[in-house]
Amino acid sequence: MDAIVEVFPVLVKGVEITIKVLLASIVLGYLMAFIAGFCRLSNNIILRKITGFYVEVFRGTSLIVQLFWLYYALPILFGIEIGSDFWAGVLAISLNYGAYMSEIVRSSILSVAKGQTEAATALNMSRFQRMRLVIFPQAVRMMLPEFGNYLILMLKSTSLVSLIGMTDILYYGDILRSSDLSQAPTVYLLVLVFYFIIALPLIWLTKKMESASKKGVASQ
């Protein structure tokens, strides 16, 4: 019990960074997903190829490799600094999951039934109106459950930023462990519990998104 009292306040110091990285990654990741998803559906072949390349590269390699590459290699290659470890971490996570989620955006839009586009055309809607009023609102409902699952995946991946020196929950856990190895079981169990507590609202949100998506979709 004493150990917990000792460990708890130290780990709490890392919560802020974990949550900041998580929120920034979620926002940027979803943004990236929509941008890349739409680019892959564009009529412009160059845009399509470039986005396709981005998606395959980020899906084909590991997040941890991407993180190290952005943090250690990119600055050497172009002689520029990303600015901070915060942005290196957020960029790696959001570019990685943005690539995965762009596939969800793309496939959801493609799986809205063809009849929906036809009905919208028959009402003389423009291409943009068809997307905005008819296709997109239905596609978003299809994206919701999978987008929900990615919330948890992104949370889990934030723990990687401790490896580039960000002071998140795991970072403080590692500090405690290296100062007193016998505390390791308490420390890491508590770290896991911290992450689980942050995950709970995300799990709840995922369930909500799943039930919201059950309404109002016409798929092929």
Binding site: G60, T61, A73, P145
Partner: protein
């Protein structure tokens, strides 16, 4: 781009490549562990005692919602310190247990979706034909439940491959750790890290295409009835 050096690239390449055996070996070990452990989840969550089932579901949820990296540290650093049952494990064994257990909860879901995907009439038919429980599972249910899950399971092999470099953090010397070592010795991270990325891409991209083909073939064979209730992440080939 003037900082790129082909000389260093060529020097680093064989160095980094030395780690590929460990990376692939660890991938396979973790995967097999997850495949076997996944079965255990599938069966214990069917235990017909509600509180037991409830506890098991929460344990699965806990393992699934917390970072595999922390689980890895727990097994490598904390497990030896647990009084009574704790023991020291090698980095490789720790990684097999850590990543294996984490992904077994996902694999368990895949099995479950396969079993749920078997038509209800099949259960009724096997009852009507008076099969024993054992016969019901081995002759009727599993032969139908397993094939449709094969593409999803294949996907998890690729996901596992991409998760394995996490083990470099506890000292498993795969390609990522080799690149880090090269970087530390020569103060050059750009080329070795790029090599790691290329190796991952070269190995995982063709596998992903293969899995996609397999999936399409399976869909045709099984009349497009992919298992229901599967976690969509498997389709998206996402890492944990």
């Amino acid at each position: 781009m003037n900082n790129w050096s082909w000389e260093i690239f060529l020097e680093a390449f064989p160095y980094v490549l030395e780690g590929i055996g460990i990376t692939i070996g660890l991938t396979i070990a973790c995967y097999l562990f997850a495949l076997i452990f996944g079965f255990i989840w599938t069966f214990v969550r069917r235990i017909p005692v509600k509180p037991v089932r409830w506890v098991i579901l929460w344990i699965m949820e806990f393992i699934r919602s917390t970072p595999p990296l922390v689980q890895l540290f727990f097994i490598y650093y904390a497990w030896p310190m647990v009084p009574g049952i704790g023991m020291t494990l090698s980095p490789f064994t720790s990684a097999v247990l850590g990543l294996g257990i984490h992904y077994s909860t996902y694999i368990g879901e895949v099995y479950r979706s396969g079993i749920d995907g078997v038509d209800k009439g099949q259960w009724e038919a096997s009852r009507a034909l008076n099969f024993s429980t054992r016969q019901k599972w081995t002759k009727i249910i599993l032969p139908q439940a397993i094939p449709p899950t094969i593409p999803m399971l294949g996907n998890y092999l690729i996901i596992m491959f991409k998760e394995v470099p996490l083990a470099s953090t506890i000292g498993v010397v795969g390609i990522l750790q080799m690149a880090n070592n090269f970087g530390a010795e020569n103060w050059r991270y750009l080329e070795p890290l790029t090599i790691v990325a290329i190796l991952f891409l070269v190995l995982s991209y063709p596998s992903a295409i293969l899995i996609n083909k397999l999936e399409r073939k399976m869909n045709r064979r099984f009349d497009k009835k992919t298992p229901t209730g599967s976690k969509p992440i498997s389709k998206a080939n996402a890492p944990g």
